[in-house]
Symmetry: C2
Subunit: 142 residues, 2 copies
């Protein structure tokens, strides 16, 4: 691992801890103001850290428990000023309505160095769907 890979791995790991603590500030500090978000749930795309802040508030509020996150197969592809990372992650917890969540997703995170700091300028989260039934495949495991 080079030092950029180390730095970005640390950013991603800090986001796992921040979910567990429902600490939106830590999650938001790495986003560029004009980040382009392709989120796992609708809409098709959304632009801006402000949208993400609102989304986190709703998401955190929907969970009775901490939001447990486990990351697997993290790969960082790092250049001097542009980098991206991709990984699988499992979200687990108990929602306020009692629903037990346990679900694997895929993430791709795009970084750009801005004034010496790595910022997330793009994030793409999803689950695949079944082409015949158009059902989202929320029960797949790695």
């Amino acid at each position: 691992m080079n030092s950029v890979t180390d730095q970005l791995t640390e950013v991603i790991q800090s986001r796992v801890s921040a979910l567990d603590a429902k600490d939106a500030a830590i999650l938001l500090e790495h986003y560029a103001d004009d980040v382009m978000l392709f989120d796992a749930v609708g809409p098709l795309r959304a632009r801006g850290a402000g949208v993400e802040a609102a989304r986190l508030k709703t998401w955190f509020g929907a969970y009775e428990s901490p939001i447990r996150c486990e990351i697997r197969e993290l790969e960082v592809v790092a250049g001097a000023e542009v980098a991206f990372a991709h990984y699988l992650y499992r979200i687990g917890g108990i929602m306020t309505d009692g629903t037990k969540v346990g679900m694997w997703l895929r993430a791709t995170v795009g970084f750009r160095q801005v004034a010496g700091e790595w910022k997330i300028v793009h994030e793409h989260d999803s689950v695949p769907f079944d082409g015949e039934t158009t059902t989202a495949l929320v029960t797949l495991t790695p």
Copy 2:
């Protein structure tokens, strides 16, 4: 635009024409052998240009018509040796069973320069889903 942005925009545009012509060779020539694929339809992830070759064969065979592809909101974030691009795209056509397809997706493509050539080392395609019904949202428009 810098020249890397121009080059990668051209790669992405060439993929649009290749779909229309169902030319798998053009689509495959830009993939690294060990590309990590997060495809819009299951499984969760797949590794390797060989997997993509098999997928394209099945996909092309399922369409009676050419596969029309329209790209919007393309953004390329280009460094000297690592880059990524994200965009929305619409797939349209008539399948062999008569089904008329017209559907918007999101794509993120990760590039790395290998021996002077830009190779796709990661691709993530998806549609978002409805969190309450777990239905894939295949009728969204930009």
